[in-house]
Subunit: 135 residues, 2 copies
């Protein structure tokens, strides 16, 4: 299993958003910024059931992301892979951890916010994905 | 033809990168940060011939982007559409304009830089794309 290169992992300790791309039924890509972390094996993010990203990933697990270093936008990480798990188990704890990382506080208020401007809120279902091994 | 909403156009005056997603032959998305501008009708960006983005767009013109406001990452623009033109005509002037916007200088040195960390360099071929009309 491919993993995130060691020299890029510091990005996950920063408040760097990942722009996650999925592909729709008709082959159209969709990309939005999300909160993200890395558990040492998988990249994890939250989305809400019923969103375009969720619907796309239910049909097609292929996914990609790009993340820029907030301290140097010309340093960025690009990942392509497949979602290996979509689950609601642990999702509340996960979004709390993400809220603490990105907002410096717990995520309760964040989850209750129904603003569409907020890239991740509402019911949470963190897909995890890994990069495929090099061809 | 759909256009970029007026209340989002200020993003193109800022040094906001667009994370551009394309789709490969096997249906895998790819997404990377690029310099971008808006000519009033089309979003324009440069890429180099032979890059994954270029190869993908030669086969499949469907494209998407997300752009965060550098002053507020929770304000972002999402676009889905099709590339309507890929051309090298005017590409040097275009990358010069982008270099001035993002780096505050002309792009000559930038083009000669072969660093892979730089999201856009080398031969330039600015695809232009527009959003499809609402379904």
């Amino acid at each position: 299993m491919a993993t995130i290169p060691e020299n890029c992992r510091d990005l996950f300790a920063k408040k760097a958003f990942a722009h996650v791309a999925t592909v729709g039924r008709d082959g159209t890509p969709q990309v939005t910024p999300v909160w993200v972390d890395y558990d040492g094996a998988h990249v994890r993010f939250n989305t809400a059931r019923g969103r375009v990203k969720d619907k796309n990933l239910q049909r097609n697990t292929k996914v990609a992301l790009s993340m820029q270093d907030p301290d140097n936008p010309y340093r960025y990480l690009q990942v392509r892979g497949r979602v290996v798990e979509m689950t609601e188990k642990g999702a509340d704890d996960h979004i709390d951890a993400l809220a603490k990382k990105y907002l410096g506080r717990r995520g309760a208020c964040h989850r209750q916010d129904s603003s569409r401007e907020d890239p991740e809120h509402g019911m949470s279902a963190p897909p995890r994905f890994r990069r495929p091994p090099p061809a």
